[in-house]
């Protein structure tokens, strides 16, 4: 008998109300190049299985890396036993799982070239070339390149009859140039945050050309002025930057587990409480946030989540109004939803799946608008590219962000580069201040591959996207 069926049969024989097993093998290749020194060239394999048992409205989860009849049975029994202990202090009258059915299906990230089939020498040569290119600039004193590739192979079975075979892949090349001059040190980073694509995507990026731009801009930045005192100004944000702001100020607040207070002790809760659904003006009327776990290249796109729920697409914010959450089978019933949106994900086999942000993007503007036209239409503002400092309170209301590259805009023109720019805003001010979004020609997606959440901590991943957008009258200034 296969281990999937064995585990499910044992769980049923013990009296589980529901159970699932996730056999997962994860490979992660990490190459870390500091200047021309290879600080880490590693391949990690993590292989095992996690079993969830649901009994009387409470969960138990046990994991193991020993594949034998006895070990699987013992692990199911452990999960069942601690589910019974959980039942001593049930959440309310006990958790209820949203309705779902069983599926027999497969999913595989579409790609042409498996990154794990590409010789290490090709990867290291590319990284060396990029770092050498950046270090050719005299004021670049530090060049760092990190290349991460990951493949997850999962077999999922549940007592609902599901049998899923899922393989996902992602790659994340990130490099940074740091310039040191005039007693200062400033960095500029190339990062698209990772994509669920094959090595052909990396080859298409022309990273050596990008390295020149990154080095030049790091040097420009170290010699740039700071902005001075905080004032109300307009902001134009590139989609790489807004990927992070939407992650922190829209993605996390609309995770239903946070809304329900399940993260109160650690990651925090959410201001976006259920009575606001359908009536809360989260953003301006042109602001539409779409959750889309079917997005091609999306880091959360996997066919099904770790509840065995199919990937879906829905509005989180529609015409500026809070519309829905990202939820799971255990959280959806708390707001009266009969079905889950499929946002329960675990990182490794030994992790308990938790309510995660889906792929989430800001829909592009409907009117034709280029970034150049947006800048030309702005009298006094700052244009920010890329991600920098970020900090937000535990209710996801008040926040402060930096960026990676800054330009002052006066009378419709980028007049000078800046450094050390930060801005402060809050929900709902920030997304209600949006008055222009460039059209779909400028729509881009960016991954977040290191979203920390949960105890024990898990590193989640998802993709965000958008076009260039303008935010009016935001508090913007230079740091100390």
């Amino acid at each position: 008998m296969d281990f999937l069926s064995l585990a499910m049969d044992t769980a049923k024989s013990l009296g589980a109300d529901y159970a699932d097993i996730r056999i997962q093998k994860s490979h992660t290749e990490m190459i870390y190049l500091r200047n021309l020194s290879l600080k880490n060239t590693s391949l990690q394999e993590v292989y095992g299985y996690g079993i969830r048992v649901f009994k009387n409205g409470a969960w138990g989860f046990a994991h193991n890396n020993v594949f034998s009849h006895d070990a699987v049975n013992e692990t199911v029994k452990k999960a069942f036993a601690i589910a019974q202990q959980s039942g001593r202090i049930r959440h309310g009258k006990g958790l209820v799982l949203a309705h779902e059915r069983g599926y027999i299906d497969t999913y595989k990230t579409p790609f042409s070239i498996d990154p794990f089939d590409v010789p290490l020498s090709e990867k290291v040569e590319l990284m060396m070339e990029v770092n050498k290119t950046m270090l050719n600039f005299a004021e670049i004193k530090l060049a760092i390149f990190m290349l991460e590739s990951r493949k997850d192979e999962k077999l999922f079975a549940s007592t609902l009859g599901s049998r899923l075979d899922i393989q996902t892949v992602y790659i994340e090349p990130t490099f940074t140039a740091t310039a040191v001059a005039e007693g200062d040190s400033q960095s500029r980073t190339f990062s698209l945050g990772g994509q669920a694509r094959g090595w052909e995507w990396v080859r298409s990026l022309n990273l050596t050309d990008k390295a020149v731009q990154i080095a030049e801009e790091a040097i420009m930045k170290v010699h740039a002025d700071s902005l001075g005192a905080e004032e109300r100004r307009d902001l134009i944000l590139d989609p790489n930057h807004t990927a992070l702001t939407m992650h922190e100020s829209v993605g996390h607040p609309t995770e239903l587990d946070r809304v329900l207070g399940w993260e109160a002790d650690f990651a925090g809760i959410s201001f976006a409480t259920p009575e606001k659904l359908g009536n809360y003006q989260y953003g301006a009327k042109i602001v539409n946030f779409v959750a889309d776990n079917t997005l091609e290249g999306g880091l959360a796109t996997a066919g099904y989540d770790d509840d065995g729920v199919p990937n879906q697409k829905w509005y989180i914010i529609k015409d500026g109004i809070l519309n829905e959450y990202g939820n799971t089978r255990a959280t959806a019933p708390f707001i009266g939803m009969e079905m889950s949106r499929g946002c329960n994900r675990a990182t490794n086999y030994y992790d308990f799946p938790i309510n995660r942000i889906p792929n989430l993007y800001l829909q592009p503007g409907k009117e034709k608008l280029t970034p150049q036209e947006l800048i030309a239409d702005t009298k006094d503002g700052v244009y920010i590219e890329g991600r920098g400092s970020f900090s937000i309170d535990q209710h996801r209301v008040n926040f402060q962000f930096g960026g990676d590259m800054f330009w002052e805009i006066k009378n419709g023109k980028k007049i000078r580069p800046l450094k050390k720019v930060i801005y402060k805003s809050n929900n709902p001010e920030f997304w209600n201040s949006v008055d222009a979004i460039c059209d779909e020609r400028f729509f881009q997606t960016f991954g977040i591959a290191n979203c920390g959440k949960g105890q024990p901590g898990q590193r989640g991943r998802m993709t965000h996207g958008g076009s260039y957008a303008r935010f009016r009258n935001i508090r913007v200034g230079g740091s100390q």
Partner: protein
């Protein structure tokens, strides 16, 4: 749970079969039990063992590392084959450094039978106590209760062999009712030293003091940071407290070794002989644990240095093996009388660098802020955002409380700091 004998047997297999000119073989095994509760009920309950088996090999100065989570012969063969193949395909590392030789390792005691023997029933009993306390206050409590046992092993081609066994128990609780939320947490290596009743009493005391918070204007205030808040920012200081990045000009510590860079009341050390604190017998790359003075009387004495950089610059390779910040004798009541007015902060949250070179950081207060004036607490206030150059803030330390064990690896005092820079207020 993987034993020392099993680890040594695996090391012997590697020694016999690995053909690389150098290698370092590390094993980390752990047995974990974690109960997570929220809104007065258990939401997660996890048990299982974890294993990380890692082999870093070198052919001259070409390196490769492979890691698996199993220890059978086939897995060890895979480990050798994979790491050797990677190294052979790799480019030379100009900063390669050979694995550590044999060392006499310090005697440390990181293990407690009492912690190791904790059962799931006992842990759930503790959670029941927390939930009943919250219900008595018509409040909701969320948190974790967690037990870990770790076995760590390192073996190198050059003769290093080290083994350490450690335990930890951690418990945290956030109690919330309407606009009031506050948190306490504690971790210990020895469950005998854990006082649940005392922690619940502290939670209740904080909770009762925080009723009906009002907003206070942003600005510079004297601030009493309770130990948890001090540790919140100290971990970020430690993160950047690296000799190489300082020497290369990327942090505020450039050219500051031996100089009065912090406030003179600020002392930061690592000690192996603190009876309550866990420490590292050796680091993952074989640096033996050692007593270290990092900052004494505000003067930077040592900074973290990797094995490569230490050899290059003739320094001692070291990193903080635990965290001890020297305290004073001031009580919170005495601190409140030292200044006209100020705020008391339980914890910080979401600390991030604004500018690594100047050492400016941002963060928020969390889990309760109190305003005091004329030596007495006057009211509970809503949260602030702060932007501060934290090493400069240590120059404004006016008083220190006794240094207490805050986590299993850290002993920290409360601090009274003048003119802390609150740049924004939050809406709750």
């Amino acid at each position: 749970m993987i034993t020392r004998d099993q680890m040594q047997k695996a090391a012997e297999f590697i020694r016999k079969n690995c053909r690389a000119s150098d290698f370092a073989f590390g094993i980390n095994g752990s047995d974990n039990l974690l109960t997570r509760f929220a809104q007065n009920g258990i939401t997660q309950h996890i048990t299982g063992e974890n294993l990380r088996v890692s082999l870093e090999v070198a052919f001259d100065n070409k390196t490769g590392t492979a890691t698996v989570n199993r220890l059978d012969d086939d897995s060890l063969k895979y480990l050798i084959r994979t790491s050797e193949n990677m190294a052979k395909l790799n480019q030379p590392d100009p900063e390669f450094i050979a694995s550590e030789p044999a060392h006499e390792l310090p005697e440390v005691n990181n293990y407690s039978d009492r912690t190791a023997e904790l059962t799931v029933e006992k842990i759930v009993d503790a959670v029941v106590k927390c939930v009943n306390n919250a219900k008595a206050k018509n409040a909701k409590v969320s948190g974790i209760s967690e037990k870990n046992i770790h076995n760590t092993f390192l073996y190198t081609k050059n003769g290093f062999e080290g083994f350490d066994q450690s335990t930890s128990f951690s418990h945290s609780m956030t109690m919330k009712k309407e606009g009031v939320e506050t948190k306490v947490s504690k971790s210990v290596k020895d469950y005998n030293k854990f006082n649940m009743s005392g922690l619940i009493e502290q939670l209740n005391s904080q909770f009762d003091s925080l009723q009906n918070p009002v907003q206070l204007a942003k600005g510079r205030y004297p601030i009493i940071l309770r130990p948890a808040a001090v540790l919140n920012w100290l971990v970020y200081l430690i993160w950047t407290f690296d000799r190489r990045t300082a020497d290369e000009g990327h942090t505020p510590f450039t050219d500051q070794i031996g100089k009065q860079f912090f406030g003179e009341k600020f002392y930061f050390r690592s000690r192996l002989d603190d009876p309550d604190l866990a420490t590292s017998k050796f680091s993952s790359d074989g640096i033996p644990g050692a007593n270290m003075d990092w900052i004494i009387n505000g003067v930077i004495k040592n900074m973290s240095a990797t094995r490569y950089y230490a050899k290059l610059k003739n320094l001692k390779a070291a990193r903080p093996f635990n965290v001890i910040v020297e305290g004073g004798t001031a009580t919170e009541e005495e601190m409140m009388k030292q200044v006209d007015r100020g705020v008391i902060v339980n914890r910080f949250w979401y600390i991030r660098p604004i500018d690594r070179k100047t050492g400016e950081w941002t963060g928020l207060t969390r889990d309760g802020v109190l305003y005091f004036e004329n030596g007495k607490i006057q009211k509970s206030v809503t949260n602030f955002r702060w932007n501060e150059i934290l090493h400069d803030a240590t120059k404004r330390i006016l008083a220190l409380g006794p240094s207490i064990q805050q986590e299993y690896y850290a002993r920290i005092p409360a601090m009274l700091i003048d003119d802390f820079n609150f740049v924004d207020v939050t809406t709750f």
